[in-house]
């Protein structure tokens, strides 16, 4: 199976604190990887390094087997990696359409924006995501939306860009049951189209349900990796997590 992305012995420090210590991780095509770990385990740092928001101090990042240099968020997006950040990465005073196309606007030559095309696509995505309120359209400001709807906009962005890897950082936080189900459906759709998902979550049950493989992170290190067929219940996963964390 082709590796979409691979982190090889990546270390990231902030001042004197080592947030990520020689962490290695790969995501292959068509799989859903669940990243779990306690608060402060380094999940966020790992994700932000993986998607180019932070640059690693040591170690390599490989995209489809090739090492990349000067990794940044724009390069990550151009390599087919889209991220739904924990904070949604939205600009609330701007319209839904502007948010969906943020940083990857559809452009004419000289940088002018294909506004009509963007609005058309955004309205299509809004229907696809299933916004319930008829009052919402592509030009509504994001600031008027609920938490779940905002998550919908962030996911619409990832859908539009047809990413090969979608990173979901705590995507079910503060969502209703119905909205959580929508996120799950989305992940399954991505998997069905032979693309990959990296799913980060606090909620072991959510991660267990959705993932094919689990990566356990503790104090900046990848301490354990296992496949879903190695275990049979989320309780088992939780026990393994408890046993590995702090044991190394």
């Amino acid at each position: 199976m082709e590796n979409i992305i691979e982190l090889d012995n990546v270390t990231k420090r902030f001042g004197g604190i080592t947030a990520l210590n020689k962490a290695s991780l790969k995501v292959t095509r068509g799989e859903v990887v669940g990243l779990i770990g306690d608060n402060g385990a380094g999940k966020s740092t790992l994700i932000k390094t993986l998607v180019g928001v932070y640059s690693p101090d040591e170690g390599d990042i490989l995209i489809r087997g090739k090492k990349v240099n000067a990794w940044n968020a724009l390069k990550a997006r151009e390599s087919g990696i889209e991220t739904v950040f924990q904070d949604r990465a939205l600009t609330p005073q701007q319209s839904i359409v502007k948010n969906i196309f943020m940083g990857k606007e559809l452009r004419y030559p000289f940088g002018f924006i294909k506004e009509k095309e963007q609005i058309f696509e955004a309205n299509r995505l809004i229907r696809e995501i299933g916004f319930t309120s008829k009052l919402i359209n592509a030009e509504s400001p994001v600031g008027n939306l609920s938490g779940g709807e905002r998550q919908g906009v962030a996911i619409a962005r990832a859908i539009y860009n047809k990413a090969e890897l979608i990173v979901l950082d705590e995507p079910t936080n503060n969502l209703s049951l119905n909205e959580t189900q929508k996120v799950f459906d989305f992940v399954l759709n991505v998997k069905k189209s032979n693309r990959s998902v990296l799913f980060i979550g606090h909620n072991i049950y959510h991660v267990y349900d959705i993932s094919d493989r689990f990566v356990i992170l503790d104090r900046g290190e990848v301490v354990h990796q296992l496949n879903k067929n190695d275990i049979s219940t989320p309780e088992e996963l939780m026990k393994i997590m408890r046993d590995t964390i702090g044991a190394h």
Partner: protein, 324 residues
């Protein structure tokens, strides 16, 4: 029906601030017209406004971009004079005025880039840092010019004079250039990647960065644009009056800032309105000149300027607070 409502509400979300500032402008006109109709129908009042407005537009509109990006710049009032000084000095030394114009605008862009880089790289407060640059540059001009003005009558015989600041059937040419500048900026702000990225960066710079927008580069470009606008303003004024004088531009500092905010651009970033700013400039220019035209003493000018800023801010609050 509900769809119509949402389009209407989106329309007001996008244009409410511009409409507000148009409303204040109309209100001001009506007050003047009712209060002093005889002064109001005299054409020379409006001619004076038309002379003042272009300069203020070149200063104010780029500030809308910068304020929308979440920063502010006070140093533009000195950049204005530095660019004018470069222009006048070179013209005086026999350089072709067209080349002087280009070099003057480059000077403005370069100062903007330096100020922007300083603020962005060292994470300085743009208010305080640009205040420092405002004084610093003014000091440099006073020292370099020995506090003496430069007269450049020779510019009148060059072809750029009638083209840029000449007279076209009674209208000063700079009105047309300012209009072109406004149209260009309207599209640049609303329909171009530059303006859209500025709005994202000013709205939430963390989100913008996560989406791969180079936040620092966007901000530095916005500072450069302010530098370019001030240079154009300074050089135009120098050509109109045939004179560079070392204190030039200082008087526009507060007027241009007032025009930005009266025009409906909020101070907190992420939003801005070009059309609103044009009417903001109109309000400020008519206040400046109208008070004198209706025969009141100049002391009232500042009083009414202050009053209109406060009233406009209160009015723009109707468009709501910052959403997060």
């Amino acid at each position: 029906m509900s769809n119509n409502n949402s389009y209407l509400s989106n329309y007001f979300h996008r244009n409410g601030r511009a409409l507000g500032s148009i409303g204040y402008f109309v209100l001001l006109m009506v007050i003047f017209l009712v209060g002093a109709p005889e002064a109001w129908i005299r054409p020379n009042l409006h001619q004076s406004v038309f002379v003042m407005m272009p300069t203020l537009i070149f200063l104010t509109i780029p500030l809308v971009f910068l304020v929308a990006s979440g920063e502010i710049d006070l140093s533009f009032a000195s950049t204005y004079a530095v660019a004018a000084y470069v222009f006048a000095l070179l013209v005086k030394n026999g350089v072709d005025p067209a080349i002087c114009l280009v070099l003057g605008i480059f000077t403005g862009a370069a100062i903007g880039a330096l100020v922007g880089t300083l603020i962005v790289v060292f994470r300085l407060s743009s208010l305080v840092a640009s205040l420092g640059v405002l004084f610093l540059l003014r000091g440099v001009i006073l020292l370099l010019s020995n506090s003496r003005s430069i007269t450049i009558m020779e510019v009148e015989s060059h072809w750029i004079y009638p083209l840029l600041v000449g007279n076209f059937y009674g209208f000063p040419m700079q009105i047309f250039w300012a209009a072109i500048f406004v149209i260009f900026c309207y599209y640049f702000f609303n329909k171009h990647v530059f303006g859209i990225h500025i709005q994202h960066v000013g709205d939430n710079s963390v989100s913008a960065e996560q989406m791969g927008i180079n936040v620092n580069a966007v901000k530095i470009k916005a500072f450069m644009f302010v530098g370019i606008g001030s240079a154009i303003g300074g050089i135009f004024t120098t050509m109109i009056t045939y004179t560079f004088f070392p204190t030039q531009g200082f008087g526009y500092l507060l007027l241009a800032l007032a025009a930005v905010f009266v025009g409906g651009t909020p101070y907190w970033g992420g939003l801005g309105t070009i059309i609103g700013a044009v009417f903001g400039v109109g309000i400020i220019a008519y206040m400046e000149i109208g008070i004198i035209a209706i025969g009141w003493s100049g002391e009232w000018r500042q009083f009414f300027n202050g009053l209109i800023i406060l009233l406009a801010l209160l009015g723009h609050r109707l468009h709501g607070e910052r959403v997060r």
